[in-house]
């Protein structure tokens, strides 16, 4: 359990010496409980208390790193069950699984395609995080050939997948100097796998089909000195995965239950078919997975999954803003219309999407409304005639268009008078209130 202020107070010297800057030890304890100060501010606390407090202040979900040559895929350090309560911090790593029953050539071709995959979403380049090599033949040499084939193509982190310590040992030797993720430790092999993980400084996945099984293995491995664990409930079923992931994360966050205070892994790769695999991966993104393994490289599915991951892991307190500027949609020419909107991401994407979908060319003038939507920004004084006029000048709209006509959102129709004064010589048109009506407006009113 995370300690309460009163519990912390009992561990402090209780002298009210004020050396920490607070009037009483109790006040300091309360601040500690709220994680607003560091224990080091108290010069008098004894070592036993320090150890106890340090353990209690460990993050409820341990941060795990999977590393290779400049890449570092991290998961963990989450603090909430629902993103609106604060935010989700570490996006789950998305890995593509290959198996050792394929030839090195086939693997190389597949990995080359997948490693080259890149899509751009709101200015960010989305790619796969790494690869998982699964032993299915039982032949260690085939396993290492495939690992070497992956390494010939890409330096991204690798997950070694086998229940056999000999396979894992061979793989770890091949990836010497990296910190791959080992999948994994089960009830039979955990001791040997634990030794390997410790020797190579690699994180180890714990595999069991129940919370009891996971807890038991995690505790045994912890006792053995293996600190970096990942939990993999053995299920490829949406309902069971949702239940187990929810229970594990709740135990970690609400009960500070240490044995389950680790990131989780979802093996979407083992789903019955590719469509189900995509849904299982989507669920894993929203519901607490730290590592997701896909079995099929389908760009048309990886793309929406990576976008969903961006969306779910967006900090709700800091909405994505779009850079203010003059955006070109459908290759506009000098006589095409200028539409104005704000730089709130949803507003921008709604408008840009509608204009794009209409097939009609237009200039989209995105003003700096501090990331607020049209109505909110207008109410807050961040989207007014002055700001629109400023954007028109700042982004050189007059130099780009021959027809001095600008369309403002219907919600701010009352700005048109003022805007005419701010922009002499410009024709101010009032557009629709909702983005969805823009195509019709452009076709019927502006044409």
């Amino acid at each position: 359990m995370a300690l309460t202020g009163i519990q912390i107070y009992k561990l402090l010297p209780q002298t009210n010496c004020k050396d920490c800057g607070f009037p009483t030890c109790l006040a300091f304890a309360m601040k500690l409980a709220a994680k607003q100060v560091e224990l080091s501010s108290c010069p008098h606390v004894n070592d036993a208390a320090k150890a106890q407090l340090a353990e209690a202040s460990e993050p409820p979900v341990r941060l795990i790193s999977v590393k290779s040559n400049g890449y570092d895929v991290q998961a963990g350090n989450e603090v909430v069950l629902f993103r609106h309560e604060k935010t989700f911090y570490h996006k789950p790593g998305v890995f593509l699984r290959v198996r050792d029953d394929e030839s090195a050539e086939v693997i190389k071709a597949e990995i080359t395609r997948a490693a080259g995959f890149q899509v751009n979403y709101v200015g960010r380049d989305l790619v796969l995080d790494g690869f998982a090599v699964e032993a299915v033949t039982g032949d260690v040499s085939k396993f290492t050939v495939v690992i070497a084939a992956v390494r010939d193509v890409t330096h991204r982190p690798i997950i070694l997948m086998s229940h056999d310590p000999a396979h894992i040992s061979a793989g770890l030797r091949l990836l010497d100097g990296e910190h791959p993720l080992i999948y994994g430790a089960d009830a039979n092999n955990w001791a040997a796998m634990g030794d390997l993980a410790r020797q190579h400084g690699a994180a180890l996945v714990v595999i069991a089909d129940t919370l009891d099984g996971l807890t038991d293995l995690a505790e045994k491995l912890k006792d053995k000195g293996v600190n970096d664990l990942v939990l993999a409930p053995t299920t490829h079923h949406l309902g069971t995965a949702l239940t187990l992931n929810t229970q594990i994360r709740r135990l970690a966050l609400k009960k500070n239950f240490r044995p389950l205070g680790y990131p989780m892994m979802t093996l979407a790769s083992h789903a019955p078919d590719p469509a189900y695999e995509a849904m299982l991966a989507a669920q894993a993104i929203a519901k607490y997975a730290g590592f997701i393994v896909l079995g099929h490289f389908q760009p048309e599915v990886v793309y929406p999954l990576l976008v969903l991951r961006e969306n779910i892991y967006t900090d709700p307190q800091k909405p994505i803003q779009v850079k203010p500027g003059l955006y070109e949609i459908n290759n506009p020419k000098a006589d095409d219309p200028v539409l104005v909107t704000t730089n709130f991401s949803i507003t921008y994407f709604s408008v840009a999407n509608e204009v794009e979908g209409s097939g009609l060319p237009a200039w989209l003038l995105v003003t700096d409304a501090e990331g607020m939507s049209v109505l909110t920004a207008w109410a807050a004084g961040k989207f007014d005639a002055e700001r629109i006029a400023k954007a028109v000048k700042e982004f050189g709209v007059a130099e780009k268009v021959s027809r001095k006509r600008i369309v403002i959102p219907g919600h701010v129709a009352l700005l048109s008078g003022e805007l005419e004064e701010e922009l002499p010589g410009w024709e101010i048109r009032v557009g629709p209130r909702e983005a969805v009506d823009i195509p019709a407006f452009m076709k019927q009113v502006l044409a």
Partner: protein, 324 residues
């Protein structure tokens, strides 16, 4: 050791709402459907059973739409030419519910008349026994005219009329009350606005078991995170006992997903976007799956293939996990 599973106990629950009336209930539907009744977050059966699974609705139009993705028109083929065949085709692919979305204009380019709206609705009711939702074109004044005519002509069918927004809820709620229908109340991705609209509708006297709410969602990549969190917050509020957030939720991932460029457009897009057809279906189904996990009780879809995938997901989520 045995780990004690942490369970939440909630004071509130989602309201149970039944729509579609059978012959014995004064309508012509083959069956009625019930949503809601949850006493915990979606699919957490270890805390409480989920009495009713989420439903998959298919959106059809009164005539072939000219602004839909070619992929959708190709998938429905000839059936999309008229609402009768479209309704039958939607039922054949396994839709639980039909949504008839009326167009602003008829095929002749003239505004849709109340008579045409009624004719289309009655034709759909005749073609399929599935419970039906009827949405206006989305312009308050026109919605009012068309939906009142539809509501009066279908008295007793327990249709769901939509979409009520703060601007036009009065007329639609009044006609729903007078004709034994239900309504869906849409608010723009905001917990308080959703509550406020529900309160206004309740204050008109419509019984709470005849209100669905649509907190609005965005598609994947286009604001789904806002819709997702608003739905989670509404559902948490409902479970905490806030009566004005306890309406079952209906959302339209089909409409949202299929207007994105990723789903709608197949040409002049980056090669990394992959296969167009599968991308479109994935965009819709992954949006919808994410939303049923944040509390959606009805998802309105557009592609026939998505129906089967959502049903597969729902069946899996409704199954009691085998936990040793």
């Amino acid at each position: 050791m045995t780990v004690e599973i942490p369970k939440e106990t909630w004071a509130g629950s989602v309201r149970t709402v039944t729509f579609g009336a059978t012959a014995s209930e004064g309508g012509t539907r083959t069956r009625s459907l019930t949503v809601g009744g949850q006493k915990t977050l979606p699919f957490l059966h270890f805390e409480h059973e989920t009495p009713h699974p989420p439903l998959v609705a298919i959106e059809i139009k009164d005539h072939r739409p000219d602004d839909w993705s070619p992929l959708l028109l190709e998938a429905w083929g000839e059936a999309a030419n008229d609402p009768v065949n479209w309704a039958k085709a939607a039922e054949a692919v396994g839709a639980d519910v039909l949504v008839l979305a009326l167009s602003l204009n008829g095929v002749d380019g003239q505004p849709t008349t109340p008579e045409a709206a009624v004719a289309a609705t009655q034709a759909v009711l005749k073609a399929s026994g599935l419970p039906l939702m009827v949405f206006g074109p989305g312009q308050p004044e026109i919605d009012n005219v068309l939906l009142v005519a539809v509501a009066e002509a279908t008295k007793g069918e327990r249709l769901v009329l939509g979409i009520c927004e703060d601007k036009n809820y009065r007329t639609i709620v009044a006609t729903a009350m007078a004709n034994g229908h239900l309504i869906t109340a849409r608010s723009p991705m905001d917990v308080n606005l959703a509550k406020q609209l529900n309160i206004l509708i309740k204050d008109m006297g419509l019984p709470l078991d005849r209100i669905l709410m649509d907190p609005t969602t965005g598609a994947l990549g286009y604001g789904i995170e806002y819709g997702y969190s608003v739905m989670e917050r509404l559902r948490l509020a409902a479970l905490q006992g806030d009566a004005m957030t306890q309406m079952p939720m209906v959302v339209t991932p089909g409409f949202e997903a299929w207007k994105t460029k990723e789903a709608k457009v197949g040409q002049d897009v980056p090669a990394a976007w992959g296969d167009w057809r599968e991308r479109g279906i994935a965009w819709e189904t992954l949006t919808a799956v994410t939303l049923i996990e944040s509390g959606a009780d009805i998802v309105v879809l557009r592609h026939p293939e998505s129906v089967a995938r959502l049903h597969q997901a729902i069946q899996s989520l409704m199954a009691l996990p085998e936990l040793a």
